[in-house]
Subunit: 361 residues, 4 copies
């Protein structure tokens, strides 16, 4: 039994920070010892920090209860908190604040972030656990080049995760020419400050999510890219997306059309997907799903409400795998990925588990 | 001023029949003189026929009021009603009943149907008003071959309509290699017997609609096809669809990726779409939109709740027109079409107006 | 034919301001000549003022189109605009700004407001058109006491309107001991800055709306009160409310339990409700419903989505009228009132029509 | 450690039956050995019985996975299955079938039912676990009078449960004059055959649920009644309800206004509610919540989506406890009860646990 690592959660009072707290509740390897947030929360016990003083209402947004351990921690100011005695920092910050604070932390400590601030830097790997942990070699490059003792690794955009996971086995086995993806994204992906306004989504679809498509197109290729000469060289296929918001709480559904380099019938695709990531899941990391991709033959699945929590929200479910005769070696399918679990805080925790297991932390 | 034509609505008590009644309310050319439904409604006044006797509840499902004219009509039995004195029959029947009854009507009268029963017969044109009214030449073939005085013309599946309308100008101007479409369909498209069950769609997406994709793929090519040698020869491009149900009442949103035969930048596409169908809309038929396609540059549109009723639900709105670099001469966009107006009863009425105007009726 | 009155709309760029613009579109008596908003909109044409410059997105939130007339008007700064040449000012301001600006306008002009700032002042009548227009006598008191040429009259809270309208005939005919009301309020009642957050209302009920219950309890009694000695003396019955938010776009549903002073069976209640307000509706004011209350015997109504737009959203629908044996002379029913039509801007316009007709303006 | 009891679930393929299977998964005292359903499922393994043969779709409707144990059981015909070797029968039948089959089972075995068929028989107790288990004395009466070895005990209507639980401590401590309740019920309460139709509930409230109000009014008084002379004599206060359906998946919210016999301030009410049922919860039965009622001071709670799963859906949450000055000794509050957990199958299982513990089985 290893000794537990101490971890801090920065941005702990917001919705993503709360998801970190839940992901770390009862964690067998990580002990949450510090919580940080903006100056106005500093000095307050966690429960007080999330309680509206006027009404006594507790601003806790997860279906899971507030973890007991958090109640006793006094929140510190993110811009000056004492992180010397922690081993890992998880950050749930807005991108502009992340850009400022994360390097300050990374000088000393490993930083796992849900912000996009550093995602597109050439020496920064975007981990999708079970897919591209080989990119961990970039961490040495990053440390060396930046003169840091720690490092920054952001998770991908929540819409990228499921797409990248399902393309990985196809890319590996059959090669990919092009990808056309339409997303039906859950409202929790936008957070709640204010996130998606009720009047905008009731009986409605929002056909546009600013910057989302660019992120998915760029990140997918980077995640599936190769580390060469101290740089991540993006995968060479093309990705085209239309990203929309639908009336679903959690779970991004994506309709994917892929043109493969080599012919593959649906059965071969299913086999490749089912086999994918076994060496990773065999590690049985605490937050790992037992299998990366769950393939279903039931045409009425995946459905976000019924399937998003499969394997703790950490598996990607794929259904409706069919040939697509409209382009060469075409395959089409529908995937579902939990945007606030595998696609956010809990995905970061899983990446940290891997790096801890492999001695990077 | 022409004399009004007498029309009958068959299946008048159901939700699609009710939409016919609304579409015909105050119609300047058509006078609804007969209503027919199943035997159990026969002999009752319309209001009584749609009233649940146990509770006194009126089973009327349109936001519009019950048209006054309908209240005074006694419903007849669809399988034996007297349609000698009507000029047009609109039918809103389940497909299996349509298969039986529509030929019986068509022996004598023009039949405009929302059922799919005859859609795929070679001598049966599927009209999308403003798009392929030239297929009217098939009506003569159909009459001659079947020995009918009337004819049958079904409308397309509601998901096909918006796709076909927006592809038409692209096909005409630039040619089409392939189409990849993902639909986010409204629940009203499934009717209410029971249609979409509440528990299946709350906080959810249904990733499968039986037979829908096959219909859209087949109908789109037929609608954009050419009449040759007394047959409709389908358009030669490929269509691949994934059809899903989302939590929206009315209005089908579709994410479309098209590979054109010739290069076209977004501005050229917008211009072609805006110009499309002008000779049709210039006829100023009573149910016609002033323009077939409304193109918007606002990235947050089209939205089903805000835009579906544009021009009485008869225009198709297109937004987010962008280049798609993932395949040759690629263009992508999002469209919105009202599935129970242009995509159903009111679309049939508009087709009938055209054929009446042009002397086919 | 009278000459049209010139009107200004203040707060014209927000959602309530937009509802005023729609309510005034094509108005036979009122001509909208001035629009005012915050300083940052001042000097811009209306369309520009509501357009997001970054994306080109038009922030227009009504299902109705933007009225043509508004497009040509240059927005002025609400704190210093020139209202000399207008006859009526409609304001759609946040309460704190209303408290400051409305008296400034009222020194000169009649002000109809949707803000609660002055609702509880003793010399300020809260009009529910068709119900308590006799309170217009207070306007003279207000003018005299405050030394104004104009006056301020706020509309009630949107939840109060339907309750007051339905209680009025009961109070008049049978007397009221007590009222217990539970509201199921639409999300549009909270506006969109941000109003109800999507994550708070999807698959949910919010059991609390700050200050709402106090407003309803107080306003209902004031509206049904009597003008005595230059003051409005509130009605003497008790009102107890629980106000909740439900997943409905427009239309507040209210479940009401009333203990009457004198016995009344459901038929007598229906009769009183149907007869209510006839002298007002007989005026046939431009925005008036043909009847104040529509009573239905269909137990499945009122339903917000199907019934809210009845008579342009200006009638209150009442259903499920039953005896309530749990208290003396008990009656219970369900009402539906359109919170953004009769319950907001359009209700103000109707009040202004009445006062114009009667010579108060 | 006691030996496990064998239990059968009848109606096992439907949604309520599935909830029984989930409630019994991993149960420490009960072992599910037999499943029964209609004749058309008989002879099939459970998974096959719920699989649509045409599409391969599995008709499983719980968020929880299908329990492993169920997969191996062959479904029997409910009208002739062999229940000799089971100790308890849980039934999830439509009321008309329940009326026929339950007495046939009850001749030999204890029957716990979710059907209303026998609820109103004088010798049939309706158990709300933790509230009226003293009514168990009626079981002897029932057995003796009907000549059965077993007995029938139905659970209450799901809307009654939360109301009865929260009224019990008030009735006990302060006495009750009258109750006025408005329910905002979840759609899962209507099942899915078809249950609530999507088109009826999107952006809507349904103001009527047939027979619901009568059930709640009658059952509440029976549950809180006393056993006297071999009969249950109903509680003597009056209950008046308006029951509505809202757009929520699970969890019935109820707005309650109570007139007590003796004065009680909100703090006294909270204290009584918090203390309620301790002798029951102290038994620590497997499905029991740790406390019957959870009282919150946060005005924004209870919310169905966030709070319904509290304590496995077995606790009733109460918030917004306030004085109600509109009637004598008035108190008002909002409650939330999980309609498919405590309010249905799992509530039956908990009642069975109690009766097993106390030797009635």
């Amino acid at each position: 039994m290893k000794e537990k690592l101490n971890v801090a959660v920065v941005g702990a009072t917001g919705i993503v920070g709360q998801q970190f707290l839940v992901s770390l509740d009862g964690h067998p390897w990580f002990r949450t010892t510090r919580l940080a947030a903006s100056a106005k929360s500093a000095g307050k016990k966690y429960l007080e920090a999330i309680t509206d003083q006027a009404t006594g209402s507790v601003r806790w947004y997860c279906e899971e209860k507030i973890p007991e351990y958090a109640l006793g921690i006094t929140v510190e100011d993110a811009s000056e908190f004492n992180f010397k005695d922690v081993d890992i920092i998880f950050t749930a910050l807005e991108s502009d604040i992340a850009r400022e604070l994360e390097p300050y932390y990374a000088k000393e400590k490993p930083v796992f972030s849900t912000a996009s601030a550093f995602r597109y830097d050439e020496d920064v790997p975007i981990f999708v656990p079970g897919l591209n942990m080989s990119h961990a070699s970039m961490l040495q490059v990053q440390k060396r080049e930046r003169g840091w003792k720690g490092f920054i690794t952001p998770n991908p955009n929540c819409t990228t995760t499921g797409l990248a996971v399902t393309l990985a086995p196809l890319y590996e086995r059959f090669g990919i020419n092009s990808v056309h993806m339409t997303s039906l994204q859950a409202i929790s992906g936008a957070g709640r400050s204010p996130g998606v306004i009720g009047l905008d989504i009731i009986d409605n679809v929002m056909p546009y999510i600013p910057k989302e498509e660019e992120k998915v197109e760029k990140e997918t290729r980077k995640i599936l890219g190769r580390c060469e000469d101290g740089r991540i060289s993006p995968a060479d296929f093309k990705v085209s997306c239309t990203c929309m918001r639908v009336h679903v709480k959690d779970g991004h559904t994506e309709s994917v059309f892929v043109s493969l380099k080599r012919e593959a019938d649906p059965e071969a695709v299913k086999k490749a997907m089912r086999a994918f990531g076994r060496e990773f899941t065999d590690l049985r990391l605490p937050s790992s799903p037992p299998t990366m991709i769950v393939v279903t033959d039931d045409p009425y699945h995946p459905q976000p409400r019924l399937d998003r929590d499969l394997h703790g929200g950490m598996a990607t479910m794929v259904g409706r795998i069919r040939p697509d005769e409209s382009f060469p070696n075409g395959i089409k399918y529908v995937l579902l990925s939990h945007n606030t679990k595998m696609g956010a805080a809990k995905g970061c925790v899983l990446a940290a588990e891997y790096l801890a297991e492999k001695g990077y932390i």
